[in-house]
Amino acid sequence: MIAVVDYGIGNLRSAEKALVRVGADARLVADPEELGEAAAVVLPGVGAFGMCARELRSRGFARFVVEAIESGKPFLGICIGFHLLYGRSEEDDTAKGLGLLGGTVRRLSGSVKLPHMQWNRLDRTRGREAAMLSGIHGDSWVYFVHSYAPVPDPVMQGVVATCDYGGPVVAGVEVGNVWATQFHPEKSGAVGLSILTRFVERCGEVAAGRVMRSEGL
């Protein structure tokens, strides 16, 4: 079972439904302890970093999400669910992320409208394997809604794709068992469903032992 973390913020149903659409046994999980039984964890996120960080902790999910990631289970963070992997965000100085990846979430800059709320083309990082994008055409467009994005430290750590919006914006990261996207695969039509299909396939491979379960972060 793929657990979609239900921490009471906005539209989480779409992520669950999109995973079900591509054949996954996915469901919204509101009880943190159930993450222990899940084969994989998806952390969606909409709204504000501070609100999501606080809900994740107050509902008791933070520890179980970290445990799932450290145990090497396939993990997918989406939008704010991606931001939460970092320690802090300029969006809210008072809120703490999980701090699993190095870097900071920063406000987008440049003479562009915010939120970055549109489809944009993915630019793959040269010379880097992107499991989430395998089999997907080079000229692929996905849907973004955000005003902040992670700036990894070390620079470009795990970054497999960026997009151009007033400058390069980190769009996708893969670090071991952790996949994360700034865009919303569940809202990105055929391209997004293909990315979710890759994730579900990866979960199957890990479960079947065909791919070594990674050490976790």
Binding site: R13, S14, K17, V46, K113, Q118, H146, G192, L193
Partner: protein, 264 residues
């Protein structure tokens, strides 16, 4: 780069799509979810459901429509019409909507925008503004109640206030142009897009493919909304996107539409 979204809009009454012409004359056009899925397959970047049902029971019907859409629609969905509180908005978001638009209720109580932005995040708060041209120093005035009631309120001033209060996007409808097929009100669209820092969706007046190009190039809108020309199959979304791309406007190719990648 900036890209423009093509957004079919469905007026929904009691769970069925109605084709509105000049906000009044209504004709049944089918199931909103079926139609939304068709538009997704044809290359729509986003869809809007606008609930024009008057009754409270109708509102519950809309939540069911959104839930059904969540099973089959994998592009962004904005839902509006009759949203009066944060709780109304939450119901729609939890059902599977990505954004909720408010109109009359926000004019009656502008704090609603602030509350929604704080509790739900600006990115899901769309403020819809219905506008008519007026003579005098104020060029455009705000209307409410589906265009039946005039407010003595400058549309540009309201647009700026809505954004200051936390709107993440504006949906600006020219009621002079709506249903006429004479093109977007480009001066209005341009004035609003220049006045605010958030994306603006232009609405009202599309008659042909060239109107979309003008809305993007001259109006500088981030989103271009149309209803009748899509419902009546007068314009194909793929043709709109081809014309936009040919004019140098950033746009997601229609070939990536739908739920599966074919020869893409």
């Amino acid at each position: 780069m900036k890209s423009v979204r093509i957004i079919p809009c469905m007026d929904v009454d009691g769970g069925r799509v109605k084709k509105g012409v000049r906000f009044l004359d209504l004709v049944d056009a089918g199931d909103p979810v079926d139609l939304a899925v068709r538009y997704d397959a044809e290359g729509a970047d986003e869809v809007v459901f606008l609930d024009i049902t008057a009754s409270h029971e109708g509102r519950e019907t809309m939540v069911e429509v959104v839930e059904r859409a969540a099973d089959r629609l994998f592009i962004p969905l904005t839902v509006g019409g009759g949203v009066r509180s944060v709780d109304d908005a939450k119901k729609l978001l939890y059902a599977g909507a990505d954004k909720v638009s408010v109109n009359t209720a926000a004019l009656e109580r502008p704090e609603l925008i602030t509350e929604m932005a704080r509790e739900l995040g600006s990115q899901c708060v769309v403020v819809a503004i219905d506008v008519k041209r007026v003579s005098g120093a104020v060029r455009w005035s705000v209307y409410t109640h589906g265009g039946r009631r005039a407010l003595r309120l400058d549309a540009l001033a309201w647009a700026v206030e809505a954004v200051e209060r936390g709107a993440g996007e504006l949906l600006v409808t020219s009621m002079d142009r709506d249903g006429t097929g004479s093109g977007f009100d480009i001066a209005l669209t341009r004035a609003v897009t220049d006045a605010v820092s958030v994306p603006v969706i232009a609405s009202g007046g599309v008659g042909g493919v060239a109107d979309f190009v003008e809305g993007a190039l001259s109006g500088r809108a981030e989103g271009l909304l149309a209803a009748g020309v899509f419902h009546r199959r007068e314009i194909a979304i793929a043709d709109v996107k081809e014309a936009l791309a040919a004019a140098g406007v950033g746009v997601r190719p229609a070939s990536q539409a739908g739920v599966s990648l074919h020869d893409h």
